[in-house]
């Protein structure tokens, strides 16, 4: 079992699965870091994005990787509008309300999808879905390698955006000190909506990366969202770099513990790590000390 023939592919697989986890967590951590709310609708939005990617392929013949571009724009707009016109106004500034609004949104989205598309599982069969790259003894699926590369690029772009642009600086300012930012003339409502839009756009990209190898039905998103919550806490709530590193880490831990403890117990590895980090570094791997 310890032979490199199994160990190396398992670690590589873990990294590639972890990359997609990381991307989903990036959206979540961004929204948490700025708006200080847990977005329960994240999983449902992922499912919605996957359905959009599915129909973009089925109806328009758009390859999921190409669809990622319009989908990012579309979901950014959707996220912006959701925060601006639904979550913000309905929350009345109370965190508990916002929590319940996002939970309600999740239920509405999921059931709307169920009514519209039924419980049917849908997949797309792409010609390159079964292509592999041989790395030593490991066969790496091409779509997963692409996903890995795209996630790294997106994370890098997001990091640069936050560091270098005015909007990025405004987002960080709001995250750090909302009142101060407001007094300096930053439109907090707008920044909130932009952040929510960015978080939702991350989910759209993740959906396009998942579609070539995964399936979609109205509850698919939930399979990813619990793990994303774990990653967000593990990486340090609100930290972009933390989410990326923690995502990759969780992917590898899940893969290895799945291999050695069995898939049913594989999740234990993640949560043991999670508890250990909370015990010894409560602010997360990259979080600021509290």
């Amino acid at each position: 079992m310890l032979s490199p023939a199994i160990l190396v592919p398992a670690v590589l697989n873990g990294l590639m699965t972890g990359a997609v986890y990381a991307l989903i967590s990036l959206g979540l951590t961004l929204i948490y870091g700025v708006l200080h709310i847990i977005n329960f609708a994240h999983g449902a939005l992922l499912t919605a994005a996957m359905f959009t990617a599915f129909f973009a392929y089925k109806v328009l013949g758009l390859d999921p990787y190409l669809a990622a571009v319009p989908l990012t724009v579309l979901f950014f707009a959707l996220g912006y509008a959701l925060q601006r016109f639904v979550i913000g106004p309905a929350g009345h500034g109370d965190d508990r309300n916002i929590l319940l609004v996002t939970l309600g949104l999740a239920i509405v989205i999921e059931n709307a999808l169920l009514v519209a598309f039924r419980g049917d599982t849908r997949t797309i069969n792409l010609p390159y879905a079964f292509d592999v790259i041989a790395v030593g003894t490991a066969f790496l699926a091409v779509p997963r390698v692409i996903a890995f590369a795209v996630v790294i690029l997106v994370a890098l772009a997001l990091w640069l955006f936050m560091r270098r642009t005015d909007t990025g600086k405004a987002i960080r300012a709001v995250a750090k000190e909302k009142l101060g930012a407001e007094l300096s003339g930053i439109d907090v409502g707008h920044i909130y909506a932009v952040t929510f839009g960015l978080g939702t756009a991350c989910v759209a990209v993740a959906a396009c990366l998942l579609m070539p190898t995964y399936y979609v039905n109205p509850t698919t998103g939930n399979a990813f969202v619990l793990i994303a919550f774990t990653i967000v806490v593990l990486g340090g709530m609100g930290s972009v770099a933390g989410a990326l590193v923690a995502g990759l880490f969780v992917g590898v831990v899940e893969s290895l513990s799945g291999l050695y403890l069995g898939e049913s117990l594989g999740q234990i590895g993640i949560f043991v790590m999670f508890i250990l980090v909370l015990l010894f570094r409560p602010s997360g791997l990259f979080g600021e000390r509290v």
């Binding site: 039924r118 419980g119 592999v132 898939e263």
Partner: protein, 412 residues
């Protein structure tokens, strides 16, 4: 019925109760005028998990049941009841036993004559028990756990086969297929989902495979849902077994088969027992290469029955897939209609008695005439199928076979 109550009655309620003399006032309130006197409709509960985790199967089951009801009504209803139509009272078990129970209560209040459905074993167990309290006949459509029919409930009838019969048939057929191929397969890896269904099956296989000359190299459990099967496939690759036996639900089954294809893992055969996707037209259509040569032991329609083939055409014309939920529910409703016909009554006790004595043969399954012993249809049995050239063929039993098994799989 007091005045205020009558004024609050909903339109739907009103339409449902046309049989109760509402015809008389139909002209006054503008409800559809019933042109001729008609026998009161017989209400039948159609219970499936149409939302939640099992929603796809539940929706397929509902489709089969309602298609049967439409066919019966179009053919003149229940003749011994003066052409009474069957009226479906639809229920959603929400993929939980509690949900199933709640629907049975509602259906009982709606005065249904019998209930058909349930789908999952857990739902069937709970719902039939609740129905028993009201002496309400309950026909189990799928639920394979054997305790469904061993509790001594007089109201519960299972038309399809149970776990014990399925497992025995599966092992007999496996030995048969392997012997014919010159005993090429000796080693097995079992991949199963970790709830009652998959674990139960894995335990049974682990106990019985060694006696039949197979060595189980490894048993790999996984949860539902599992997001990634690369690890499982790596383990299969390391063990290099002759046979892989998967026992899991549709999504995981498809992911496993796709990952095996991707990782170039090609055992001598893939043989499933109640495989989630192994005999699904959907899987074959969407992933023909991953599905090719996969064998299954599962519920299947009688491929030589013209009615079964006609039904297949109808379902496919609607853009649906002809899955076992459809034809099993279709058959169960026909079975009930036959009992109603013979009972010549919508009385629950009389229908139960008629079901007990059923010899119904007009269904679409390869079971022969129905014969219930303690609620279990004795002729019910699964068949063996194999995916061959983008279609699903029956390979065993010989009486229903439409093709010969291709085993071992030819190399890619």
């Amino acid at each position: 019925m007091s005045g205020p109550y009558f004024s609050r009655i909903s339109r739907r309620r009103f339409l449902q109760s046309t049989g109760l003399g509402a015809v008389a006032v139909a002209g006054l309130v503008g409800a559809p005028v019933v042109s001729r006197a008609q026998a009161a409709a017989v209400k039948v509960g159609v219970l499936h998990p149409v939302s939640g985790a099992l929603s796809y199967s539940g929706q397929q089951g509902r489709l089969g049941a309602t298609m049967a009801i439409d066919d019966i009504n179009a053919a003149g209803g229940i003749k011994s009841l003066g052409g009474a139509k069957i009226e479906a009272v639809l229920g959603d078990a929400q993929s939980t036993p509690e949900g199933g129970n709640a629907e049975v209560e509602k259906m009982n209040s709606a005065e249904v004559t019998a209930i058909v459905g349930g789908y999952a074993s857990a739902i069937c167990l709970a719902a039939s028990q609740t129905a028993a309290r009201y002496d309400l006949p309950y026909i189990v459509d799928v639920g394979v756990v054997d305790s469904i029919v061993t509790r001594g409930l007089k109201n519960t009838f299972r038309f399809g086969p149970g776990f014990g019969v399925i497992a025995k048939t599966a092992l007999d057929s496996l030995v048969n297929i392997n012997d014919q191929a010159g005993k090429v397969a000796k080693t097995v890896v079992i991949v199963h989902e970790d709830s009652a269904f998959g674990s139960g099956l894995a335990k049974l296989l682990n106990a019985q495979l060694p006696d039949r000359g197979f060595q189980v190299l490894e048993t790999i459990p996984h949860p539902t849902p599992t997001r990634d099967f690369n690890n499982v496939v790596l383990q299969i690759k390391a063990q290099n077994p002759d046979l892989v036996i998967p026992a899991n639900y549709y999504n995981e089954y498809v992911l496993l088969a796709r990952t095996m294809q991707q990782q170039r893992v090609r055992p001598k055969g893939v043989y499933s027992v109640l495989g989630g996707a192994a005999s699904s037209y959907k899987f074959v259509k969407e992933f023909p290469e991953a599905a090719q040569y996969i064998m299954d032991c599962n519920h299947w329609f009688d491929p030589k029955n013209p009615k079964a083939l006609e039904l297949k055409k109808q379902v496919e014309a609607k853009g649906g897939f002809y899955t076992y939920e459809v034809y099993m529910n279709y058959s169960c409703v026909l079975l009930l209609a036959d009992a109603l016909e013979r009972a010549a009554s919508a009385d629950r006790a009389k229908v139960t008695a008629a079901l007990e004595n059923s010899t119904f043969a007009g269904h679409v399954m390869p079971y022969g005439p129905t014969k219930f012993v303690n609620g279990q249809n004795q002729g019910a049995a699964p068949v063996n199928t194999q995916v061959l050239d983008n279609d699903i063929q029956v390979i065993l039993p010989a009486a229903f076979a439409s093709a010969k098994a291709v085993f071992p799989m030819p190399p890619a």
